[in-house]
């Protein structure tokens, strides 16, 4: 990495006029990027990180106004260049960009080939044949098999991961000097995320480009970036090398953010940290420090004067009034509370899923062909009283169908869900409702926008005719207090609340019937890290106080490590591994569990993006592979895996595994040294399952 500067931004601002006022999304950002370097811009939603990137390329929404002292890119000041020149000379040529949403970022009516080649031919210096050759070459490089035939395909024929690979190839067509990746993996599953990040890192080194990686995910940035800029309320509050910022954060916001991440400190020994309050309104001016209102150590001056930029070394700064910020002073000081140790769950099971299968018949249009989709395949599971059972899996694995079946909203084709000794389908809905309740992922769609908060929380009481009206109101108010909702929102509408508050409403609604079991379906994945921490803390506290049992569906292994007692891993409608949290997370037996663990990116600046163990995409559930459904992606698969589906096995430590090679998987993984390809993995000595077969 050279020290030559490629990009220098001074005092960049973006303002977007709205109906009533002006949204000042970016407020005087200064940035510097050296050649060959990866800069990670981290921030929560609304921090202005994407707007900064769009402003750089002048791709802002039409109404937005941009201003900058200078945007110096490789010797040209982009802030003075005309739109025409910017489009012709810079965009797609010197700076490539990839976006968050691979599903909608490619034009649906044109072929992949056309969209790739036109990125080159547009600028008029290469022939169509040359562009085609380059496209094939790049598609191969980004890991799409059979690139020549891909050119004829259309976006809708590719999966999300494949589309993101095409986007990367497209951004690289003209060998740009800078690649801007705006949340490139946020919409993708963890195993695919690892693949894409690894690919981006590899390409960057190979082509010697610089990269700006915009993300909200501290784990991603810790692995992929050389330097970090932390953004808050439209401005950069701290910069430095990845190790400096993450190991020795100086700004109170950076520190708060890190403490919100599960697993950043010792797993589940502590409550998560959380940043109080909410991001200030981005309209109009902010007086003093934008973070002052949420800062635990804000002094009087913080509310009056803008904080100074304090240099700590070359390219290492933070913006704060407090000169003595040191690492030892945790944000949690004062109210750091030991988490109740993980319950030793009683063995008594409260809910039993036995051999549940569900197949959907999918048909398009009136005369379309019917196709069957096996969403759940012979699932057995039990939830024990007082425990947190985490259900882990990627999108499309059947998690939602399973939770809906457990809630009694979906009837299984075969098998039973037993709740309190009776099949859940046979329970009267109202009786069932008082035993089991859901909390959903998206707090924006889980609350009816036409109803007041008091109404929403009290609705279960009303439906189940519990208590007189006045009594219901009292119970609602008590519940609001319990989940930390201010009493005055009783008559407000969901639109008036923040995401975190809405999720508290959803939790209150679930708990008001006093259920035994709560199904939490990704309850924090739509929230910012700091809000996620608040909600996770709340859920754990409520569990202790109200003696609840949780089925916690999530894709985030750090959340699992933080709160689960037991873990069940799902793949293509099957539970492939299930056991105690510590056993599963430290000694995974199924290769898929192992791969998930490898793909999870904890905050570790000293580590690189791990080599992805899994090749290929999550298969289409409509075309289930024969034999073990995991075999096409499994590095250990052999002939048996390809022909016969494995059966449930109980390991000595009480873990359930569904894998022919389970006995070998752990050993094979641990023996594997870096750089070895799956093909030359050591052959296991013996296939013990065949012996036991009659």
């Amino acid at each position: 990495m050279s020290t030559e500067s490629l990009l220098e931004i001074r005092d960049l601002s973006v303002a977007i006029p709205t109906e009533t006022s002006t949204l000042r999304a970016v407020r005087g950002v200064d940035l510097e990027l050296r050649r060959g370097e990866t800069l990670g811009i981290v921030g929560e939603s609304g921090s202005g990180k994407s707007m900064t990137a769009l402003a750089l390329m002048n791709l802002l929404p039409p109404a937005a106004r941009r201003s900058a002292a200078c945007v110096n890119f490789a010797g040209t000041d982009l802030s003075t260049v005309s739109e025409k020149e910017l489009a012709g000379q810079v965009r797609g040529r010197k700076i490539g960009m990839i976006f968050q949403e691979p599903m909608t970022s490619l034009n649906p009516v044109y072929s992949i080939g056309r969209q790739l080649t036109e990125a080159m031919t547009l600028h008029g210096e290469v022939s169509a044949a040359q562009a085609r050759r380059r496209a094939i070459q790049l598609l191969e490089k980004v890991g799409l098999p059979d690139p020549a035939s891909r050119l004829k395909q259309y976006p809708h024929e590719l999966s999300g991961g494949q589309r993101q690979r095409v986007m990367i190839a497209m951004a690289l067509m003209n060998e740009p000097e800078l690649l801007i990746a705006d949340e490139p993996t946020t919409a993708l599953d963890v195993t695919i995320q690892a693949q894409i990040l690894h690919l981006l890192r590899g390409l960057q080194t190979e082509l010697g480009m610089s990269m700006i990686l915009i993300t909200h995910d501290l784990g991603v940035v810790s692995r992929a970036a050389d330097r970090i800029a932390v953004m808050y309320a439209g401005d950069i509050v701290e910069t430095g090398t990845t190790a400096q910022v993450l190991n020795d954060p100086r700004h109170p916001y950076t520190r708060g953010l890190l403490e919100c991440v599960p697993g950043y400190r010792e797993a589940s020994a502590h409550r998560l940290g959380s940043i109080p309050g909410v991001v200030p309104s981005m309209t109009g001016d902010i007086r003093g420090c934008a973070f002052a209102a949420r800062c635990p150590r804000a002094a009087e001056e913080c509310f009056i004067d803008s904080p100074p930029t304090r240099p700590l070394g070359p390219a290492r700064t933070y913006v704060c009034h407090d000169p003595e910020e040191t690492r030892s002073r945790s944000l949690l000081e004062g109210h750091d509370r030991e988490q109740t140790p993980v319950n030793k769950p009683a063995k008594e099971s409260v809910l039993k899923v036995a051999g549940v299968s569900r197949t959907f018949s999918v048909r398009r249009g009136m005369f379309g062909k019917r196709k069957s989709l096996r969403a759940l395949d012979n699932i057995s599971l039990e939830i024990r009283k007082g425990e947190v059972l985490a259900l882990v899996g990627e999108s499309g694995c059947g998690k939602s169908t399973l939770t809906r079946t457990i809630l009694g909203l979906e009837t299984p084709d075969s098998g039973t869900v037993t709740l309190a000794g009776r099949p859940v389908g046979a329970l009267p809905p109202r009786q069932r409702a008082r035993m089991i309740q859901p909390v959903f992922q998206d707090p924006y769609s889980s609350l009816n926008p036409r109803k007041t908060i008091g109404n929403i929380i009290g609705r279960p009481l009303q439906v189940n005719q519990l208590g007189a009206k006045a009594e219901q109101r009292t119970r609602v108010r008590r519940m609001m207090e319990l989940v930390g909702l201010p009493a005055r929102v009783f008559n407000s509408f969901p639109d008036q609340l923040s995401g975190g508050q809405r999720q508290r409403v959803a939790i209150a609604r679930a708990l008001i019937l006093d259920p035994e079991i709560v199904i939490c379906d990704e309850p924090t994945s739509a929230l910012d890290v700091s809000v996620q921490a608040q909600i996770l803390n709340l859920l754990l506290d409520l569990r202790d106080e109200l003696d609840l049992t949780y089925l916690f569906v999530t894709h985030d292994l750090s959340v699992v490590a933080h709160l689960a007692d037991r873990v069940a891993v799902m793949y293509l409608g099957e539970i492939v591994e299930c056991g105690d949290r510590d056993t599963v997370l430290t000694h995974p037996k199924h290769p898929y569990t192992r791969a998930l663990l490898d793909s999870a990116l904890s905050i570790a600046p000293e580590l690189d993006v791990p080599e992805p163990r899994l090749t290929g995409d999550f298969p289409n559930p409509m075309n289930r592979p024969a034999g073990c459904p995991f075999h096409p992606r499994c590095p250990l698969a052999d002939a048996q895996c390809r022909s016969r589906a494995p059966e449930v096995e109980w390991a000595a430590d009480g873990t359930l595994v569904k894998c022919w090679r389970a006995g070998d998987a752990a050993g094979a993984f641990s023996q594997l040294s870096a750089g070895q390809t799956p093909e030359n993995w050591p052959d296991p000595p013996k296939i013990n399952k065949e012996e036991s077969a009659p």
Partner: protein, 309 residues
């Protein structure tokens, strides 16, 4: 409850305090605030209010009996034209009836038919739309087929044939226009229901023990009301124009009812010499319809939710 402290802790109390100032307006307050600054909506609403007043108070406001013929005062021009009389401000028609009175009473007919027909259309369309969207499956396909059929028939021809077969009267016109104008409601409520059905608050409702009917009526329908209101206003305008057209062709409300369309048809024979007979009711129609459309467009602009912004 003692846990409040442990759960909330100081982080929440402070959040509550600090958010006090930030709590936004309710959706209703937002709509009213926007409406106040929406010129189209205000103008449309104002005109409509005046015309509605005229329609309701017609017996007191109209200077003459709209049915009273006076053959000695036939085809008087408006008062400001030479030969006009101030007692007949807008002149008289070919039977000597006071034109201003007929136009005022015409507003009654137009609004009655417009509102009546749009209501019938709404009942048919919304019911079918919610059923199709919520239950899906073969019901949805059947309703879709019905829509395709309805769209394929030239509606004016169908209305004319129906009115002719059943007989000409105001009630028949209302029902026939209503029964042929439900597609717009259906398409919009169906797609909205399809979308809402998949939202988590519907799943939450069934998880708390709500029946399907409760979900359709208490959870889904309230979310459709804004859109239904917008379509209703636009359909009132469409129905008014339809009635006028029908009456103009001689298959609408029967003579001597003071319908604007009928008045234009009656004035058509004399329009080369007394053009006001055609121009005046036409202007009345235009103003009424444009006011309703402005109101409808305005209500739509004002009630759009820009979520998550």
């Amino acid at each position: 409850m003692t846990i409040t402290e442990s759960v909330g802790g100081n982080e929440l109390t402070s959040e509550a305090e600090r958010e006090q100032a930030q709590l936004g307006l309710t959706p209703g307050q937002v709509a009213i605030k926007r409406a106040r600054r929406h010129p189209g909506l205000l103008v449309g609403f104002g005109i409509l209010l005046v015309m509605a007043l005229f329609a309701v108070l017609a017996p007191w406001l109209a200077p003459h009996d709209p049915y009273l013929q006076n053959l000695s005062l036939r085809l008087l021009p408006p008062a400001w034209v030479e030969g006009g009389q101030w007692s007949h401000l807008l002149g008289t028609d070919h039977l000597g009836r006071d034109y201003l009175s007929r136009i005022i009473y015409g507003a009654r007919i137009s609004m009655m038919i417009g509102i009546g027909a749009a209501t019938i259309g709404a009942i048919i369309g919304v019911t079918l739309g919610v059923i199709a969207g919520y239950f899906g499956g073969w019901l949805d396909q059947a309703v879709n087929f019905l829509v395709t059929c309805q769209l394929a028939v030239p509606s004016l021809l169908l209305i004319m044939a129906l009115v002719f077969v059943i007989g000409q009267s105001i009630t028949v016109v209302i029902f026939v226009i209503g029964a042929t104008h439900w597609v717009f409601y259906l398409v919009v409520t169906r797609s909205a229901t399809l979308r809402i059905r998949e939202l988590d608050f519907v799943a939450a409702a069934s998880a708390m023990g709500c029946s399907r009917l409760q979900i359709a009526v208490k959870e889904i329908l309230p979310n459709l009301l804004n859109q239904i209101l917008v379509i209703f206003t636009l359909e009132v305008a469409v129905a008014i124009l339809n009635e006028a057209t029908l009456s103009f062709l001689g298959l609408g409300v029967p003579s001597p009812t003071p319908s604007w369309g009928l008045m234009i048809a009656e004035g058509k024979t004399a329009m080369f010499f007394q053009p006001w007979l055609v121009i005046l009711p036409g202007i009345a129609l235009f103003v009424l319809v444009i006011a309703i459309n402005l109101l409808g467009d305005g209500v739509r602009d004002v009630t759009v939710t820009n979520r998550r912004s």
